[in-house]
């Protein structure tokens, strides 16, 4: 059974600080997705990582994928309050099936 684990589950950080969220998964997959979810809202796509070594950046967020280690990271640079949300990683159950297995989520709170 494919398992996807994120850590930390909760993260409280000061504005201006850097931090990394980790996403580990238990079986081979070369497709990984990061989403943001605000309270009561749906999922907003942040990054699509489709190959080993993929790195993508958007604003203060940067995501990377290491398929050999079965690890993805979401790095936050100089956090601002607007980044407060829950972040999910999701792994394609088997490449091409588009059955996504989601991680547990990381609830991020950025303090002013």
């Amino acid at each position: 059974e494919l398992k996807v684990e994120q850590n930390p589950l909760f993260l409280s950080m000061q504005e201006g600080k850097n931090y990394t969220i980790y996403c580990n998964y238990s079986t081979t997959s070369d497709r990984l997705y990061w989403y943001r979810q605000d309270p009561g809202k749906s999922l907003e796509s942040l990054f699509v990582l489709l190959s080993n070594g993929a790195v993508k950046q958007e604003g203060r967020l940067m995501a990377s994928l290491d398929t050999k280690a079965r690890l993805s990271t979401l790095h936050i640079t100089a956090a601002v309050h607007d980044l407060s949300a829950t972040y999910f990683c999701a792994v394609d159950w088997s490449s091409g099936t588009y059955k996504y297995i989601f991680g547990t989520g990381t609830r991020l709170k950025v303090l002013a």
């Binding site: 996807v4 997705y33 989403y35 009561g40 809202k41 749906s42 999922l43 796509s45 699509v48 999910f88 999701a90 159950w93 091409g96 099936t97 588009y98 059955k99 996504y100 297995i101 989601f102 991680g103 547990t104 989520g105």
Partner: protein
Amino acid sequence: DAGVTQSPTHLIKTRGQQVTLRCSPKSGHDTVSWYQQALGQGPQFIFQYYEEEERQRGNFPDRFSGHQFPNYSSELNVNALLLGDSALYLCASSAPYNEQFFGPGTRLTVL
């Protein structure tokens, strides 16, 4: 171009009742997947429809069933509702070999 749409936005039912949720995929998308997200949890895959057939299914009981219509829209039906079925139900659509796009969700409350 409208994205993925879902209806209704909110729904309140009582235990034992049946519910139908609806989803219209993004234009050009032919595959629809449904997810259940309980409060404080990550979304869980229910099933996926392609060419009007269920192609994949997650670990959900038969009380959860679905349908896809020729225009690619989809319905999720849940029979004999339980308190534990209270959740946000998300629909996602995709084009062949492309990522999924999620709709706004339907919040179901079972009393």
